[in-house]
């Protein structure tokens, strides 16, 4: 009996020892899918509780963040500032509900804390605040600045001969900011193979489809021109996300950009692909419906 339980555990998790820290990683796809649902429930709880926030672009990166924090990154929730940790810069800072929910589910703070999101006495600021929120590696919010900061972290890693990796999530609308392309040149110039950029390509921004508002396509060609290796995936396919990070880790002498095709509002039927859900909170009826679609309250 005890042997079979151990086997089940082994199928679902892997325990690794990295630089003196024990890290539990979920390897089972179904388990990760369940985690992503929990992350999505947290997003809805936060935005409903605050009656404010950005559900669309949070839900579109829920699967990516779940894989990063539960399968990919070497992090320690008990020591958020561990200097050998992998780092994440959520450059599209308005997707803070997704990051906070992921961090809460990972144990940096409680899932209950999520209900204080955007409140006057809460540490969970509207946009990621590294000074007050455990696990937040960079303060973001004003779009376009995160890749530069991620480059700085990656350069510091190179100077210090550290093995940590730096991840940076950009919005596809966000890359209309010119600074992103300044930063992309920097990533390429310094051959930052410890950097992995993920573009959340949900195709929508506040004023409409990105190709109508200010067409940033071809995204792949643009990053490629700056020296990136490009990987294109379905940003909701857990297996594909895992293998993309695996490929990225083995690329040498150049940074990697994963272009993740995603659906804004993913997981909540009435929010999917609806630009109106960029920055709007659900009412009680919509909240109940959303939680029901995510498998009900836990």
């Amino acid at each position: 009996m005890s042997v079979s339980i151990l086997r089940i555990i082994c199928q679902k998790f892997v325990i690794i020892f990295y630089k003196g820290v024990v890290i539990l990683k979920i390897t089972n796809i179904n388990e990760l899918q369940e985690k992503a649902k929990e992350v999505r429930r947290g997003i809805i709880e936060e935005i409903y509780s605050a009656n404010s926030g950005h559900p669309g672009g949070s839900l579109s990166i829920a699967d990516i963040l779940t894989v990063l924090y539960f399968n990919e990154m070497n992090v320690d929730e008990k020591n958020p500032n561990w200097e050998d940790r992998d780092r994440l810069v959520l450059s599209k800072g308005h997707a803070s509900p997704a990051l906070y929910s992921t961090l809460a589910n990972r144990g940096y703070f409680t899932v209950e804390d999520l209900k204080t999101f955007r409140g006057i006495n809460s540490k969970l600021q509207g946009h990621p605040d590294m000074k007050h929120i455990p696990g937040v590696d960079m303060t973001t919010g004003s779009l376009g600045q995160g890749l530069s900061a991620a480059n700085g972290m990656a350069i510091a890693g190179k100077i210090d001969n550290k093995n940590y990796r730096v991840y940076c999530i950009l919005g596809d609308g966000e890359i209309e900011e010119g600074q992103v392309w300044e930063a992309a040149m920097t990533s390429g110039k310094y051959k930052l193979d410890n950097l992995c950029v993920i573009v959340d390509n949900n195709n929508l921004q506040i004023d409409g489809e990105i190709s109508d508002v200010m067409n940033p396509y071809p995204i792949d060609e643009k990053f490629k021109a700056s020296g990136f290796k490009i990987i294109c995936i379905d940003g909701h396919n857990i297996e594909k996300i895992i293998s993309a990070f695996e490929v990225a880790k083995n690329v040498k002498e150049q940074p990697v950009c994963i272009i993740a095709k995603t659906i804004k509002g993913k997981g909540i039927s009435f929010m999917e692909n609806q630009v109106g859900w960029h920055g709007k909170a659900p009412n009680e009826e919509q909240y109940n419906q959303a939680i029901k679609e995510l498998g009900g309250a836990k």
């Binding site: 000074k131 600045q145 700085g152 972290m153 890693g157 100077i159 600074q179 040149m185 310094y190």
Partner: protein, 307 residues
């Protein structure tokens, strides 16, 4: 004050090299102006810790912030107009809000940039930088003070803006002179007037003091090397002890040194202050010395406002 002149940007470059030898965490970033900002001196000595970010100041500032999260102490340099102006939001959001340990050392401040003209003459940086929470703002006046500042700010784990000049100005202080962030330096004890100066105008104020002394008028000069936090104590003391208060700066009279002093006076001891500086107009091309005359921030202008 010596005959010998040196631009504070030169002192900055020299001090960076010394600092780099002492502290391995110092990294320097520049935006294609290392020959002018003098960070090329550091680049030659420590190429592995120097990063030329190209003509991309916004990227430079946020990259510096990222480096600071990993215990590096970045000194980011470019002309003041591209630092405080072009990269304002990056300084605000990526550096000041998270209180990142980044030192922004901005050269070519003020109209004394000279021939390049208004586009390159930053006369709003003190105003912009001192409104930012968590920011310390310095504006040094000579070689000795600048070298002190460059090392001193490396010990502060917070953002600092250091304003430097292109124009070579007299070396004012002896090597032994002691400085302290937030404590202005009083030169002389005259009670006929106080001249508050900062950066390139300090030597002008000292010249004015010497000229006035020949006429039997005794003034004091206060070198306001720290614009924020402003030295309230010395402002109040001088308001109480001297008959006239003048501020003089190579900066718009709106928002800079004169404004900062006025804020203290208004709250603590309402006193008239004559503000000399760029009077809410853009700069223009010309030689630095000609521009100082044109904008009335020379020793002569100070003297004229006292006699």
């Amino acid at each position: 004050m010596r005959e010998e002149k040196k631009a504070t940007r030169q002192s900055y470059g020299e001090a960076l090299v010394e600092l780099g030898k002492k502290n391995g965490n110092i990294v320097v970033l520049d935006a294609d102006l290392s020959g002018a900002t003098k960070t090329d001196l550091f680049a030659k000595e420590f190429p592995e810790r120097f990063f030329d970010m190209g003509i991309a100041e916004q990227d430079m500032m946020s990259t510096a912030a990222g480096l600071a999260t990993c215990k590096k102490i970045p000194y980011a340099s470019t002309f003041a107009v591209f630092a405080a102006g072009r990269a304002y939001d990056q300084i605000r959001s990526s550096i000041c809000y998270p209180k990142a340990n980044v030192k922004i050392c901005a050269t070519h401040a003020g109209v004394t940039v000279g021939e390049d003209g208004a586009t390159h003459q930053m006369i709003e940086d003190l105003a912009l930088m001192r409104t930012l929470p968590n920011m310390t703002v310095l504006s040094t006046s000579d070689d000795v003070q600048t070298k002190w500042a460059v090392e001193e700010i490396s010990k502060m784990e917070e953002p600092v803006y250091l304003r430097l000049a292109r124009l070579a100005t007299p070396i004012i202080y002896d090597e032994e002179q002691k400085f302290e962030i937030g404590k202005a330096v009083q030169i002389g004890n005259g009670t006929d007037a106080t001249v508050f100066a900062t950066g390139v105008t300090v030597s002008e104020a000292i010249k004015a003091k010497e000229e006035l002394a020949n006429k039997g008028i005794n003034i004091r000069v206060v070198d306001m090397h720290t614009i924020k936090p402003i030295d309230k104590e010395i402002i109040i003391k001088c308001a109480q002890e001297t008959k006239k208060l003048i501020s003089v700066e190579d900066h718009n009279i709106i928002g800079g040194l004169g404004s900062a002093i006025s804020e203290v006076l208004t709250e603590e001891c309402p006193t008239k202050l004559i503000r000399l500086g760029i009077k809410d107009t853009f700069g223009k091309s010309g030689k630095a010395e000609e521009l100082m005359k044109y904008f009335e921030i020379t020793a002569k202008n100070i003297v004229d406002n006292i006699v």
